[in-house]
């Protein structure tokens, strides 16, 4: 029996273990695990955040990434941006407010420029999840070996240039001395001096001070807004859906109670 349990334990590790690192080699606050995404804040009711996100998207992303399944007008209405204001500031070129959000870049040429056609991002938040997008956007770092001079911790050797470079500043991958863990889970201490033993770990991202247009905190907030917007554009009906869902379920609860009472009346006949 003991052997059986042992064999089971040995197997079960393999059975369940998922070597998944959704965010590549990103090192977040949790130093133990690499590849864990930072958590984005998705709140479709926060219109101010969505508006800021839309503004960022239209200015930084739309040059290459279309949102070709959604329309300007729907977006303006959902985000409560006055149509006139929207037309003036967020529609570039001669597109109309009822049009789909397409771009002028030729996919074939784009493929030559970047190695891959920049994908449409309408559904990206559904495909990758908001946390992935948020972490990805923050994870560009200088890497001279790459054709465009940047690499990404989440998406290794990505073909995309760091369009947020000016805003974020020059981010580098650095190594740091971090406290090492003792087998008991605490911090490892030197038995003689009592000092905490450190080991070198690499892959930390640090912005060179003074190179960015905004502070790190502000940059993170901006990326949260942008991510929030992308989550919205993937699922624009979410707020409406949940509201209708609430009423539908309320109705069904009343219906079910009445049906139950009716059933109870009929049941009396049977005994």
């Amino acid at each position: 029996m003991r052997y059986l349990a042992l064999i089971f334990l040995m197997f079960s590790a393999n059975f369940i273990a998922e070597s998944s690192a959704p965010c590549g080699s990103y090192v977040g606050d949790d130093l133990e695990h690499v590849g864990i995404c930072d958590i984005a804040v998705v709140d479709p009711t926060d219109k101010a955040s969505l508006q800021r996100g839309a503004q960022l998207y239209m200015n930084y992303c739309l040059g290459c990434h279309s949102l070709k399944y959604s329309r300007y007008k729907r977006m303006a209405e959902d985000l409560e941006i006055p149509l006139e204001l929207f037309k003036e500031n967020l529609i570039f070129g001669d597109q109309k407010i009822g049009d789909l959000i397409t771009i002028g870049m030729d996919p074939k040429e784009a493929k030559e420029w970047f190695g891959n056609t920049p994908p449409d991002l309408t559904l990206e938040a559904g495909l990758r999840g908001p946390d992935w997008i948020y972490t990805y956007l923050k994870s560009f770092y200088v890497d001279e070996s790459r054709p465009l001079g940047v690499n990404n911790m989440v998406y290794e050797n990505v073909g995309m240039p760091n369009v947020l470079f000016n805003m974020q500043g020059e981010q580098r991958s650095v190594c740091k001395q971090v406290p090492s863990k003792a087998p008991n889970g605490g911090l490892k201490q030197d038995p003689l001096t009592g000092k905490i033993v450190t080991v070198e770990k690499c892959g930390f991202l640090e912005v060179v001070e003074g190179t960015g247009e905004v502070s790190k905190e502000q940059f993170d907030t901006n990326m949260k807004d942008l991510t929030n917007f992308m989550a919205y554009i993937t699922d624009p009906a979410q707020t409406e859906r949940e509201m209708i869902g609430f009423y539908v379920i309320m109705y069904l609860i009343i219906f079910t109670i009445l049906a139950f009472l009716l059933y109870r009346e009929f049941k009396k006949d049977l005994h």
Binding site: F11, N14, F15, E18, K68, Y69, S70, R71, R74, P119, T122, L123, E124, G126, L127, R128, G129, T234, P236, A237, R241, E242, I244, G245, F246, V248, I249, L252, I253, F255, T256, A259, F260, L262, Y263, F266, K267, D269, L270
Partner: protein, 412 residues
């Protein structure tokens, strides 16, 4: 006056007789329990699928170029299009959940035994058609997983010795999965298969009403009748069962709407995340998985990793998978037990049925994760135990010691 009109109709069409036979005088055993709800809920889901399907069809475009975008058109530009689509996607998952429960009920209470063999076989056909509907429907959104699932499933036909390659091209209608394939799957999904499903369900219900419903005790309720010839331990289906069902349908719809409105992608199980990307025949996803309801059978397919007698592992896997789905048909003839219900069957029947359930769930899990050697070994073991339930049944069901069956139904 009303009576006159009714008799005018009845002389020309058996309306009253049909209503009596199938509703007001259909005897439903009084000890039916919660497991018996799956049947009526399946009918509810069938209606949901038919109606939402028709509305989806009004805006869907069955071409390789336009399919993916038309789904997004439904989701964004069509009024309440998202609701119609989520109704259909949630419905497909729930359809399978319910049919599995419905089948399990039959296995538990021996509802396939004499005289219900044909009822069971016809019921199996609905399961089979549902599998086909699920597969063909899954391809229509033309996302990455649609495309690659179609690629994997269709390539199975290519593994058939001698005729495989030609057969594959004939089925696909092209040298690779393309818009032509999409069109034929579309035709099957919206015309042939639903028609066949409705017809088979109709026959299923006719057969049920011919032999009568089984019950959790597996006793024949027609043995004891009152002076009017009505079985004692039954109640008329209408209104008593219908009232009960109505309340159950309410509870079910609350659950259904909760998924549909609040978790429409069901954590990636109802709508897979990979399907948010349009089909791309040059880019294979890292990990191709079928929808959750096929994963037990997908695990069986992958469990066979060795060729035998010159037959490829893939073909053998295909055979095992098909056998795993088809084996249910044989149940009425595999079961040699003198009793129907698991309540009175012996310890071996209980053990093997439990083993079957465990195998089904473990295989379901294994089919949804990427394979590794240990998982493949487990898939092989549990494929074996899955089939053990069926193939050993003639032995254990015949020789085990059963409990005495009561004369009439018991009420807990």
């Amino acid at each position: 006056m009303v009576n006159k009109i009714m008799s005018w109709f009845d002389e020309r069409l058996p309306i009253t007789a049909t209503i009596e036979r199938h509703l007001t005088k259909y005897p439903a055993p009084i000890n039916m329990n919660i497991w018996y709800l799956a049947g009526v809920l399946l009918v509810v889901v069938l209606v949901i699928q038919l109606i939402s399907g028709i509305w989806l069809l009004m805006n869907y475009e069955p071409t390789a170029e336009g399919a993916f975008a038309s789904i997004q058109y439904i989701m964004r530009d069509v009024e309440y299009g998202w609701m119609i689509r989520y109704m259909h996607t949630t419905g497909s998952s729930v359809f399978f959940a319910l049919i599995y429960l419905h089948m399990f009920r039959g296995m538990m209470y021996g509802s396939y035994q004499k005289p219900r063999e044909l009822l069971w076989v016809v019921g199996w056909f609905t399961f089979f058609l549902l599998c086909a509907l699920g597969f063909t429907g899954y391809v229509l959104p033309w996302g990455q997983m649609s495309f690659w699932a179609a690629q994997v499933i269709m390539s199975l036909f290519g593994s058939i010795p001698f005729i495989g390659e030609d057969l594959l091209i004939w089925i696909r209608g092209d040298y690779l999965i393309s818009g032509i394939t999409l069109n034929r799957l579309f035709a099957l999904h919206v015309v042939l298969l639903p028609l066949a499903l409705i017809a088979v369900i109709f026959i299923h219900i006719l057969a049920l009403h011919e032999v009568g419903s089984n019950n959790p005790d597996g006793v024949d309720v027609k043995k004891f009748k009152d002076e009017d010839g009505v079985p004692l331990d039954t109640k008329p289906f209408f209104p008593y069962d219908i009232m009960h069902d109505l309340y159950a349908i309410g509870v079910f719809l609350i659950f259904f709407c909760f998924i549909m409105f609040f978790y429409p992608d069901g954590g990636g199980y109802v709508i897979e995340y990979v399907n948010y990307e349009p089909a791309d025949n040059l880019k294979t996803p890292d990990h191709i998985v079928p929808a959750w309801y096929y994963t037990p059978y997908y695990a069986m397919l992958r469990a066979i990793t060795f060729p035998i007698f010159g037959l490829s592992a893939k073909f053998l896997g295909f055979v095992v998978m098909a056998a795993g789905i088809a084996i249910f048909v044989a149940l009425p003839w595999l079961d040699r037990s003198p009793v129907k219900s698991i309540r009175y069957k012996g310890i071996f029947s209980k053990f093997f049925l439990s083993l079957f359930v465990v195998s089904f769930f473990v295989l379901g899990y294994l089919g949804s994760v990427p394979p590794n050697p240990v998982r493949t070994l487990f898939a092989q073991i549990f494929t074996f135990t899955y089939f053990a339930y069926f193939f050993l049944m003639p032995i254990y069901s015949k020789y085990e010691k059963c409990k005495p069956v009561p004369e009439r139904v018991t009420l807990s």
